[in-house]
Symmetry: C2
């Protein structure tokens, strides 16, 4: 038709962006909008158990359904504030998420009565102000005439900048009719052109440096290569140039880990020695989409001088010490590839380390990290989505070589524990959309306790992730930082194998729970074809020693502990 | 000693304020401080499953341990933001809570490295700015010389203003030594003196109005009478004057509900008819500590003209149309009582309605709200702490007359569901401190799903609340507002009676779960002395019809629905 209701307009834009799921929790101020969601054939309403989990799910969804966005709907005050940590995490890690908040009517916003979910002092803008800290754009729709333009503005920012945005939708405007015409023009999602003169100059500079380095260059891929959609361009670059390519932890699976020219994960001082040597001795490092946070860089231990570094980002470029604002990698990369393929012959001779660790063959029966990670590495299949929670899991998984087409999901900069439970839900839904394989989660017992209820939503929606619950009696990563034997790092032990059955599953029917205490038990399970087929949701409680951690974590926490200065001032 | 470490200083101040429990979750930036908590003999560390629940617990604790404050410790960014909805709720409902956040060292705060838990863009003040929206005072400790004064400043504001405050504690300052001398002076917690001339004038004005009303006055008590500690002064007032006294929902149990002069709950149009008639026909209403929010006033349907109203608040007074800033009720009330007791003889003759409903005796076996609430009313004992979650529970409980010394806990203005699970934990701990009786929670199935993991902390700490889980297949209160048969108001059904056993309890040993489907089954359980003795944590799943609600809720949601305008624009 010629006109469309505001609620429907928003839904249509989401469909155009490839968004197929809406997460969230009902509330008095969003119920009217939920009708539009429930009635829309193209978008499924996924009722979350709570709003934080909904935000986590939208984030996980956006990461796996690359190129689309994640979306959640919450209610004024109580709902949106519960989600704010999830939104901040999406901001920190460059994930495009739309947070729609059902808010009081435009007249209530003017008259400011003491409604429930208000602060009681008439400040109706407090939540908006908080949201400004954690979103890249905000819109408070207060007029049907500007509603469509406002929606389009923040959605464009969301997609182009790959960051969360915030939308206040008042109860009285949801069903107002507006012209539908704008919908015929899809939102512009391409980044702006690079200024041609500057771009040409930058290309020349880079080529000059590669020449000076006599083609001894490596590529280092990081998070923003994924988030700003240049995975294809990066692939072209290393395929055509032959330069060895490595990934930072947050860039894991930006490059297919089975690629010949792929050398593994570089994390400064805590890298595997051969990788560290190869990266740090290269004459030139072409870094793509870097996010140099502590845990992503081995606590800032890159031993790479700036004079040997080129940094490509979504919105700027650095060549050694020179910055070039506005020169974005999406458009620069293909041109760079075209200029550099003459180096291929030489570069092909650069040795790339063999990535991945063998499974230790000693006679120990205990499931240690040293054994666990190489062993589960053998279990992974092409196109699996592999989610790792902050804690021993996110460190342990790094050294595992993932199969072709696998997608790695973790939150290494923000590091909010419990995040993976929600994000696994979103990731599993996006995996279906994209025709990916199984969704497999590794999570600590401590982290699971923060957001456990979202397992119920997975069951309810018939998702079939495999969940490895590492039971090491508490917050092991924290023990390594400080308080190895402190009580505050203990948690209460749950009957983990009863969880799925309690949260709405029927054990043996639509869910299955296991406990494994030895290497043999776990190996047997991993080799079981029914288990591996992931036909129902499965939870495996893996019993592990309290004081065991992956190698990389031990080194990392030593470094962190030092900068926190606890070790200098406090006995543990 | 002459000096004390900053961490210990803070602990000592909390002890002086009567705070006995610290809630929270460990994190890299607070581990050093947690040592001080774990080692302190006077304060118990209560490790929460997540930070939102910790904030809820601190809030519930502060409400029941009247005169003290609630406290929680979280970690930078991820932890504190998870708690922010709980803090905002404490702000909204005037609850004194201290939120301690472990933050990066002072040098890291200056140099702003891209640490984990940061936004990745160097903004180290974003969380502080968000916290400013929801706390009454903030301190970012950045110097040991000002640490003690800063701690004292915000704790004083917390106690005097009965609102949450925010404290950033950097890793490197926790163990710095500072002079201990200040600790000898307890924090000043008395509100400021009223300006004598103004106070005298106000007293005269009020007495004049009471005379004009010929002593036909009633007292209406609300939330801030509890939060600003004037329960004793209010008691004196109605005892000495004989004026009938009523409570708003948020003021329930500010006055002992067994008092002769107590007439029950006034909620505007949705009050019981006799109460409405008595309150609205009184010639003068003395309102004490009012918070006139929608759900606390029957959607703003007080039929009481301002010309018949006197309002006493913690920091100001209103007499009819005149405002008197700075004239606070704590000091005004005793003087008012002294001036008004001559009216007693006349006031004693004012009829007070008999509060409370009889248990319906019809032959229906279904557990309906109409039957449930009067029936559980018979189960309550003196000094029970009764917690009611937003939803059908918070409405149903209102008409129940609670026994002597009972404490009612609910969140009627903020109304964040899931809040009661955390707050029951805190309330149960405070109840022990204060020598109160059982802690009894009424909560809907929908609300329980938001924060369910905190049951595990109750089990772990040996608390023995009785939890009535009203299973009505989803968000019934929302159905009454909008979407009676909508799928978004459904939730997935859990095996509720397996919960305690899964979350660390041993069914029959330290926990017990029941399911009741008929009035007879529930009655039998309530009459069972072992059950009533509450020797272990108990969960009762109460099966109820999906489309049944308490009378007050039905009326209230009709009123809310209208102002949300859904009914005008959308078919349900
Ligand atoms: C929301 C949030 N709260 C607290 C923390 C601090 N923290 C980081 S890791 C961790 C412990 C994780 O324990 P677990 O999941 O059992 O992992 P493990 O290291 O034992 O495998 C904690 C408490 C955090 N990162 N995020
Ligand atoms: C944090 C939060 N999210 C959402 C809401 C909106 N809300 C208010 S009541 C309610 C449903 C409560 O359902 P339930 O606990 O089952 O109560 P009942 O069915 O007894 O009404 C919801 C979703 C809220 N108040 N707070
Ligand atoms: Mg653990
Ligand atoms: Mg319900």
């Amino acid at each position: 038709g010629d006109t469309i209701e505001v609620g429907s307009y928003l839904m249509e834009r989401l469909v155009q962006l490839g968004c197929t799921q809406m997460f969230g929790v009902p509330g008095d101020f969003n119920l009217g909008f939920l009708d539009y969601i429930e009635d829309h054939p193209g978008i499924e309403w996924v009722g979350s158990c709570n709003e934080l989990n909904a935000a986590y799910a939208a984030d996980g969804y956006a990461r796996v359904n690359e190129g689309s966005i994640g979306a959640l709907t919450t209610t004024f005050g109580v709902g949106e504030l519960s989600a704010i940590n999830g939104i901040a995490g999406a901001f920190s890690e460059h994930v495009p998420v739309l947070h729609i908040v059902g808010v009081p009517s435009t007249s209530q916003q003017k008259n400011k009565p003491m409604l429930h979910h208000t602060l009681g002092d008439g400040r109706y803008d407090a939540y908006y102000k908080a949201a400004q800290q954690f979103t890249i754009a905000q819109a408070s729709i207060n007029n049907k005439d500007t509603a469509a333009a406002e929606i389009d503005r923040i959605l464009t920012e969301c997609v182009v900048l790959a960051r969360p945005v915030y939308l206040m939708l008042p109860t009285d405007l949801v069903s107002e009719r507006i012209p539908a015409k704008r919908l015929k023009t899809p939102l512009n999602r391409t980044p702006p052109e690079n200024e041609p003169d500057v771009e040409a100059f930058v290309l020349d500079e880079i080529v000059k440096l590669v020449e000076q380095a006599e083609g001894d260059a490596i590529i280092l891929v990081d998070a923003c290569a994924i988030r700003h959609s240049v995975k294809e361009e990066v692939r072209e670059l290393f395929k055509k140039t032959g330069f060895p390519v490595y990934a930072a932890p947050m860039g894991k699976t930006a490059v297919d880990e089975t690629e010949d020219r792929y050398g593994g994960i570089y994390v400064g001082s805590i890298s595997q020695p051969e990788i560290k040597e190869k990266v740090e001795s290269a004459k030139l490092i072409i870094s793509i989409g870097a996010l140099k946070s502590d845990f992503n860089t081995g606590n800032f231990t890159y031993h790479i001088p700036i004079s040997r570094t080129i940094e490509l980002h979504s919105d700027h470029t650095r060549v050694q010490f020179a910055g070039f604002p506005g020169i974005g990698m999406k458009r620069l990369l293909p041109k760079l590839t075209a200029r550099l393929h003459s180096f291929k012959e030489g570069a092909d001779k650069l040795v790339v380390p063999k990535f991945g660790q063998p499974v230790p063959q000693d006679s120990d029966t205990t499931i240690t990290h040293e054994w666990l990670w190489p062993r589960v590495g053998e279990f992974f299949k092409p196109k699996d989505v592999i989610v790792a929670e902050t804690g021993t899991s996110s460190f342990g998984i790094l050294d595992v070589k993932l199969p072709s087409g696998a997608v790695f999901v973790s939150q290494i900069l923000w590091g909010s524990i419990g995040w993976t439970v929600g994000s696994t839900l979103g990731a599993a839904m996006a995996a279906k959309e994209r025709g990916l394989n199984r969704t497999i989660l590794f999570i600590g017992d401590g982290s699971m306790q923060l957001t456990v209820q979202e397992l119920s939503v997975m069951i309810h929606h018939g998702l079939t992730p495999i969940i490895f619950l590492l039971n090491n009696s508490g917050y092991t990563i924290e023990r390594f930082i400080h308080g190895m034997t402190r009580k505050y790092n203990d948690i209460s032990n749950w009957k983990w194998t009863h969880l799925l059955g309690t949260l709405g599953g029927e054990e043996g029917k639509n869910c299955h729970s296991y406990i494994v205490k030895t290497r043999e038990e776990l190996s047997r399970l991993l080799d079981d074809p029914t288990f591996a087929a992931a036909g129902k949701i499965q939870l495996v409680e893996v019993m592990m020693p309290m004081h065991d951690a992956p190698r990389a974590l031990k080194v990392q926490t030593e470094l962190t502990g030092k900068s926190n200065r606890y070790s200098l001032t406090q006995q543990t």
